[in-house]
């Protein structure tokens, strides 16, 4: 089965949505958290479905680039929910349930997409996302053009 067919299948059959909700099985969530999770699952599976049905029939190259961009989008989202969850735990000793669950949900979609990206591309994008959030400007600066642009970012 081709990459596109496999991704289409995982969305159309509801497997991806099931995977997202498997993370919360047996957990007593508030209606608010469950609603946010449901909305996330619907939007992200629909987004992936749109790429397979709209872009892939026309251009394989554009489809791959869109898939990579979608992965990066989710990587930032995962990172943000993770950060909120961690800081909340440090401050209060408690769990920020919504962020924790949404990070897990983002992780499920990332896992579904990343098996279709090359290891090299994934490593490049992973490095970029991590450096941006951690503020390791030097590593980012070495790869930026023009090189001085990041000096302003670090300032």
């Amino acid at each position: 089965m081709s990459t596109v067919a496999r991704l289409h299948e995982v969305v159309a059959s509801g497997q991806l949505a099931k995977k997202i909700f498997a993370n919360v099985e047996g957990i007593d969530l508030s209606d608010e958290v469950r609603d946010r999770l449901t909305a996330f699952a619907k939007r992200r599976t629909a987004g992936l479905g749109e790429l397979t049905t709209t872009i892939s029939p026309v251009s394989n190259a554009d489809f791959y680039r869109a898939l990579a961009a979608f992965w990066l989008e989710l990587r930032f989202e995962w990172q943000r929910h993770n950060l909120v969850s961690n800081y909340h735990a440090i401050r209060t000793g408690g769990c920020h349930v919504a962020s924790f669950m949404l990070a897990a949900a983002a992780s499920s979609v990332l896992a579904c997409i990343e098996q279709h990206l090359s290891d090299e591309d994934r490593a490049l994008m992973d490095g970029f996302a991590a450096e941006l959030i951690s503020g390791t400007h030097l590593a980012l600066a070495q790869r930026l053009d023009p090189p001085n642009a990041t000096a302003e970012y670090a300032a």
């Binding site: 081709s2 990459t3 987004g47 709209t54 989008e73 642009a149």
Partner: protein, 123 residues
């Protein structure tokens, strides 16, 4: 947050409003998680990453809309979501330095352009 929902059904309109509320809540979650002066640098970087995430999302919707237009399949809900995304991007741009946004988006889109040359997926 205003939602432009011309030509949408009630379900799509409700979904968009829920999305706007969720997005706003995400920013509040960030502010609650990083409330102190010493957190400011990290908060700035995370907001920059949020801006980039929304910028990619806006681009994805735009790409899908363009391809859908070729196939004459209108997607008004995506167009409305794109408008909402633009509004949020504008708001976030108000707290970020323009030079940083140029640098980040230039790097990110350059990275994706390079990625797009390899195409290991099968059609």
């Amino acid at each position: 947050m205003a939602v432009i929902a011309v030509g949408l059904g009630d379900a799509e309109r409700d979904r968009l409003i829920a999305l706007a509320v969720d997005r706003s809540r995400s920013v509040v979650d960030l502010a609650d998680a990083l409330p102190d002066a010493e957190d400011e640098e990290e908060l700035y970087r995370v907001i920059a990453a949020l801006w980039l995430q929304l910028r990619f999302e806006w681009q994805r919707h735009n790409d899908v809309l363009n391809y859908a237009a070729v196939g004459e399949t209108p997607k008004p809900e995506l167009a409305a979501e794109g408008c909402m995304g633009s509004l949020m991007l504008e708001r976030l741009e108000g707290v970020l330095f323009p030079t940083h946004l140029d640098t980040l988006s230039g790097y990110a889109f350059g990275l994706l352009a390079a990625v797009g040359t390899r195409v290991p997926v099968s059609p």
